[in-house]
């Protein structure tokens, strides 16, 4: 039950002022520029873009600054801002096969044509704190360069396709559902699931994906290919009658290859899970592809083992961190009347129990 109450306006104003001061921190320390956040905290920016579902590094950096580094709060700010913008249309699906890759690795094919490109990765760092970074002003040497082939790198899974060992994904021209325009309805198509997962909370998807690896809906996933790079975004312009490139976005794409013994409907082959996310967001893309694959149990005729990652409603209805935090955090806001009625109920029940005990004792 909700009751309108008044008061607290001055307290709220003062709380905002206090918040602004705390956000700034010690004024003797130089203020953080949003360009510094964009350039030097790029993975935080990428996460806010992916989960905010809006590709704009400058806005994401501003949101991170305003949210004092609370990334879920920053995602919330981005989602709210997004609602103020008109949508001009939908771009043509991006062609990730033409990606200008800065990273491209495969855990399954050592000698994949095009090779294994490590890119700017943490993978082989020693995870030792680098105290040199605590001292300011050190110039970073230029990264080494080598001549690069001009051809784009083919998807590694296409090599498995040649032997018919892997399931294929034929293109269709269907207009995909959009959960930002129409409420999500279950059961969801794979297109709708992928949209929900791509904007879902990284931590939630990480835990779900990990649970499938530990046996809760095991899918035996290998990373067939992980690639990071930029792709062109093309939009059909009605007044021109043709499509033009309107810009480029950095994406992370993960395709898993999963062992599949076959089912009543499908022959033994490798199946695939798919992850695609904004920015360099590798953990998220891998997790997304594992969860995508786990959710496909019905389509592939697998058993439902009761694993959380196989439960479409459980996954999709709890993946969005703005929804989750909104509902979670609202319970700290005034519920005085609800609680008053609970209090009265408890008192009444206690009185009844006490009376019954007193009666029994007599």
């Amino acid at each position: 039950m909700y009751v309108a109450v008044k008061g607290g306006e001055r307290a709220i104003d003062n709380a905002h002022a206090f918040l602004a001061e705390e956000r700034r921190g010690d004024p003797a320390v130089a203020e953080l520029g949003t360009d510094q956040i964009r350039e030097q905290l790029r993975l935080a920016v990428n996460r806010v873009m992916a989960e905010g579902s809006l590709y704009d590094p400058d806005l994401a950096a501003l949101a991170i600054k305003q949210a004092r580094g609370d990334l879920i709060e920053a995602v919330f700010l981005i989602r709210a801002y997004r609602t103020t913008l008109p949508r001009f249309g939908a771009a043509r699906p991006v062609a990730t096969g033409t990606m200008a890759c800065t990273r491209r690795i495969s855990a399954t094919f050592k000698d994949a044509p095009g090779g294994q490109i490590l890119g700017p990765t943490f993978d082989y760092t020693h995870r030792l704190l680098d105290f040199k970074l605590a001292a300011e002003g050190g110039a970073v040497p230029d990264a080494p360069m080598q001549p690069a082939p001009s051809a784009s790198l083919p998807h590694i899974t296409t090599f498995l396709n040649r032997d018919g060992l892997i399931e294929t994904a034929p293109p269709t021209d269907d207009t995909p559902p959009d959960l930002t325009r129409e409420p999500m309805e279950l059961p969801a198509s794979r297109a709708l699931r992928l949209q929900a997962l791509s904007r879902g909370d990284e931590g939630f998807l990480l835990s779900l994906a990990y649970s499938t690896q530990r046996g809760y809906g095991r899918t035996h996933a290998f990373v067939g290919e992980l690639r990071i790079g930029t792709v062109a975004v093309e939009l059909d312009i009605p007044e021109l009658g043709f499509a033009v490139e309107i810009g480029e976005v950095e994406l992370t794409e993960c395709e898993t290859v999963n062992q599949f013994k076959g089912s009543k409907t499908e022959p033994p082959q490798f199946t695939r899970g798919y992850g695609l996310t904004f920015g360099q967001t590798e953990r998220k893309a891998i997790a997304m592809s594992l969860v995508d694959r786990a959710l496909r149990w019905q389509e592939l005729g697998e058993d439902h083992t009761g694993a959380p990652a196989q439960d479409e409603e459980f996954v999709l209805m709890h993946a969005d961190n703005v929804q989750a935090t909104g509902f979670l955090e609202h319970i700290k806001l005034p519920h005085y009347v609800d609680f008053q009625s609970e209090l009265e109920l408890i008192r009444k029940l206690r009185a009844e129990v006490m009376a019954a005990q007193a009666e029994a004792a007599e």
Partner: protein, 144 residues
């Protein structure tokens, strides 16, 4: 000079850094807005398994603008981000490229933009290429 098609130069203008366009087009031609610069979004789509049906990935910010030069030629722009100046200049250059100034505009604006973009891309690709793994076979499984 390589001939650029209209989609080519519109893409090049959209991808160009906004402040670089400002340097390359210091004097803007007389024009009126058919559509003043407007900030919005475009839904970016992917394909299931990279090749299958489309799905909605998320939106990106886009600014669009349409202008008409004094002689009636119309220019359009849809550019990534939220820079009204970028969209206006891109639309003006799109219009100029359809006039008898095209060759001059190409030389002064598009050619430098294309060269700078190619250099940026080549640098990034070369840094990635330097991280390509060379495998060395240490031991083979057979008996020697």
């Amino acid at each position: 000079m390589t001939a650029l098609s209209r989609p080519d130069w519109m893409g090049l203008l959209a991808r160009a850094p906004a402040d670089r366009l400002a340097q390359l087009l210091p004097d803007e031609p007389q024009a009126r807005f058919l559509r003043p610069p407007e900030i919005g979004t475009v839904m970016v789509r992917g394909r299931i398994g990279a090749t299958g049906g489309a799905f909605n990935l998320g939106e990106m910010t886009v600014t669009r603008c349409s202008v008409q030069l004094a002689d009636g030629v119309v220019g359009h722009a849809h550019v990534q981000g939220r820079s009204r100046d970028h969209a206006r200049r891109a639309a003006l250059i799109d219009a100029l490229m359809q006039t008898d100034r095209a060759s001059d505009v190409h030389t002064r604006i598009l050619a430098p933009l294309a060269a700078e973009e190619a250099a940026r891309r080549a640098t990034r690709a070369a840094k990635a290429a330097a991280t390509k793994v060379e495998f060395f076979t240490l031991v083979r499984g057979e008996d020697t």
